[in-house]
């Protein structure tokens, strides 16, 4: 319950990003603000300040006041707190939508493979085997770097290189076998059960059996997998963004902000600390939620990489 609350809090706060940016911070979190000056306690201070050690400038430190630069600024003088909120929207959007796509596609493929068996099953299982054997980050890295150089052009589908759809689709597709395989296993063993045999014997169509008999029995596992998949997608997205092949500027996600913070780690550590904390809290809440869902719905459900 606490986990659900934490999750709702992160979602709502992230949705409020534009409100904060427009009504409190009065700045644009996506454009550099190197010349900017802000008023703190009646005095004007520059966003980029002279480096105490002599050379160069450092961004302003956290002001801890909600009106300006709560968490300070990054290298380009942008408000880290506002970026954190906007980044949260992108991270959560990618996390949820790739999990939705992944779980949906995997459930359909797993059900079809498990129910029909034969050639379909053989083909899908081999495909899953190959993707499964491919180290997941290496696969995601290869796909991302290729698609980021040229975008995706598949017949009528054109996705430009900077689009958020690319990381969503890439993350969803690399995780499909991890969900589809257990679902296929469940359907495979369901098929031997009497109630399915009875439905087949009474002449029900395949579509009817899949929808009315199989789906309700697969649903608990799907419900268990979903929050875990959101957590996986969120973590994968942040890792890809950290490696600069996930979310592309001017968009920001928690991963890209951590990367911005890498150069500032010893001068302005909050730039890196804050988004990391957000990821840990959100992914932790999702994992606890998944754990609770498993205890409640389906104690036997197992997803590789989770427990």
């Amino acid at each position: 319950m606490i986990a659900l609350g934490v999750l709702m809090f992160m979602v709502i706060v992230s949705l409020c990003a534009p409100i904060y940016a427009h009504h409190f911070a009065h700045d644009d979190p996506f454009n550099s603000n190197l010349q900017g000056r802000i008023k703190i306690g009646g005095k004007f201070r520059s966003v980029m300040q002279a480096n105490p050690s002599g050379l160069g400038v450092v961004p302003i430190a956290p002001t801890w006041s909600f009106s300006h630069y709560f968490l300070g600024a990054d290298e380009l003088g942008r408000d880290v707190f506002a970026r954190l909120l906007y980044g949260g929207r992108v991270s959560l959007l990618i996390g949820f939508s790739s999990a939705v796509i992944c779980v949906f596609v995997a459930a359909v493929m797993g059900m079809v493979a498990g129910y029909f068996g034969g050639v379909v099953d053989w083909l899908m299982s081999r495909l899953f085997d190959i993707i499964w054997a491919f180290p997941i980050y290496l696969l995601a890295i290869s796909l991302s770097v290729i698609l980021l150089t040229s975008g995706l052009n598949l017949g009528v589908i054109h996705i430009s290189a900077g689009s958020l759809l690319l990381p969503i689709l890439i993350i969803a597709s690399v995780y499909v076998p991890y969900v589809a395989r257990p679902i296929r296993g469940i359907v495979f063993s369901l098929k031997e059960r009497e109630f399915i045999q009875a439905a087949i014997a009474s002449g029900a169509s395949d579509w009817h059996i899949l929808r009315k008999e199989i789906l309700p029995n697969v649903a608990p596992s799907v419900i268990v997998f979903f929050p875990l998949m959101v957590a996986f997608s969120l973590l994968t997205e942040s890792a890809l963004s950290f490696l600069s092949i996930g979310v592309q500027p001017p968009q920001a996600s928690w991963g890209t902000i951590i990367q911005d913070g890498l150069q500032l780690l010893y001068t302005r550590p909050w730039v890196a600390i804050a988004p990391g904390l957000c990821i840990v809290v959100t992914a932790g809440a999702l994992n606890i939620l998944g754990d609770g869902a498993r205890d409640a719905f389906d104690p036997k459900a197992k997803l590789r990489g989770s427990i």
Partner: protein, 323 residues
């Protein structure tokens, strides 16, 4: 056993073939732009483009192109970078491999020890304060991004506390084990701990679950009936059987680690291993470098998981027949 090893190795070779085809298709057959332009980088001259299409036989049919790519990667090993012109890629990967291996093996030793200890402590103290604590740590650690944890470790050990608490710690980098084993361990200490922290929690959780299941089995009841002490039952009977699950999980995670968390950890700690090389390739879009790292990395993972499976079959004879 011999037949199992042969079978497992054949399937490893088949998987490697499938992976190499996938890498080939991703790098050379993704619809979009001309693959030559992609390989040669963003600001390539027409001569370079022509050179690339001759080098990779881009005018030839797909199967031939696949063979040419494999030839450059594994037989002649003369894949060259077009960003840092003239850099041979394969020797770089081979030179970087010991660093990655040191990182991964050291971390694996720590995480297995800590994970097994944690699992045993949690299972034998079921219901007391320490059990839910270990369970909570288990779920918290799988939610932490590896690279961020590494940064936080750097922040603690290299920043303000470096002068007072960690003056003995080197400022990142790597020393080969052959030149100075002590410095080698010292340089890798925190990267090891970072990686191990991510995994030992899950292992403790899994082992606890397995131990608690095992304690309900018949053979444990027999052991109890014989009058053995609870401690002896836990260590000599339940733990031995539960470790089988840990070994098989280890095979999966060890592979995932090389392509995933180890890569990120190398980047954060400045360890110039294969992951760091991949990162360099990503930052300046050096596709031949990325292709080489991905292929060699994936092949290593497939081999490592085959070795773990063979070990597993050695530990648990049932596996040899079942698969």
């Amino acid at each position: 056993m011999f037949r199992y090893i042969i079978r497992r190795l054949i399937s490893a070779v088949l998987v490697m073939f499938a992976i190499s085809v996938m890498v080939f298709l991703i790098f050379f057959a993704t619809p979009g732009v001309n693959p030559a332009a992609r390989i040669a980088g963003r600001s390539a001259s027409p001569e370079v483009l022509r050179h690339v299409s001759i080098e990779f036989g881009l005018d030839k049919p797909l199967p031939i192109r696949y063979l040419i790519m494999m030839y450059h990667l594994f037989i002649k090993q003369d894949l060259t970078s077009y960003v840092n012109i003239g850099d041979k890629i394969i020797p770089q990967i081979i030179a970087a491999a010991p660093i990655t291996l040191s990182l991964v093996f050291g971390a694996a030793v720590i995480w297995l020890i800590v994970g097994i200890l944690g699992g045993v402590v949690a299972a034998s103290n079921r219901g007391k304060f320490i059990d839910p604590l270990i369970m909570f740590i288990g779920i918290a650690t799988i939610s932490i991004p590896a690279y961020w944890l590494g940064e936080m470790v750097n922040l603690i050990t290299q920043d303000k506390l470096h002068a007072s608490l960690f003056p003995w710690l080197p400022n990142g980098g790597y020393v080969a084990i052959t030149s100075n084993p002590w410095q080698w361990a010292l340089h890798l200490l925190f990267p090891w701990l970072t990686l191990a922290a991510l995994y030992s929690g899950i292992y403790a959780r899994v082992l606890r679950g397995e131990l608690i299941n095992a304690m309900n089995e018949d053979y444990i009841r027999t052991a109890r009936a014989k009058g053995l002490s609870e401690r002896r039952i836990l260590y000599r009977h339940a733990l031995r059987c539960s470790l089988i699950t840990i070994v098989s999980l280890f095979g999966l995670d060890f592979g995932a680690l090389i392509g995933g968390a180890a890569l990120l950890t190398e980047v954060v700690f400045g360890l110039q291993g294969v992951g760091w090389l991949t990162y360099q390739g990503l930052t300046n879009l050096d596709l031949p470098l990325i292709m080489g790292c991905v292929m060699y990395g994936a092949f290593f993972v497939v081999l490592a998981s085959a070795v773990v499976d063979i070990l597993y079959a050695y530990l648990d004879p049932r596996v040899r027949i079942a698969t």
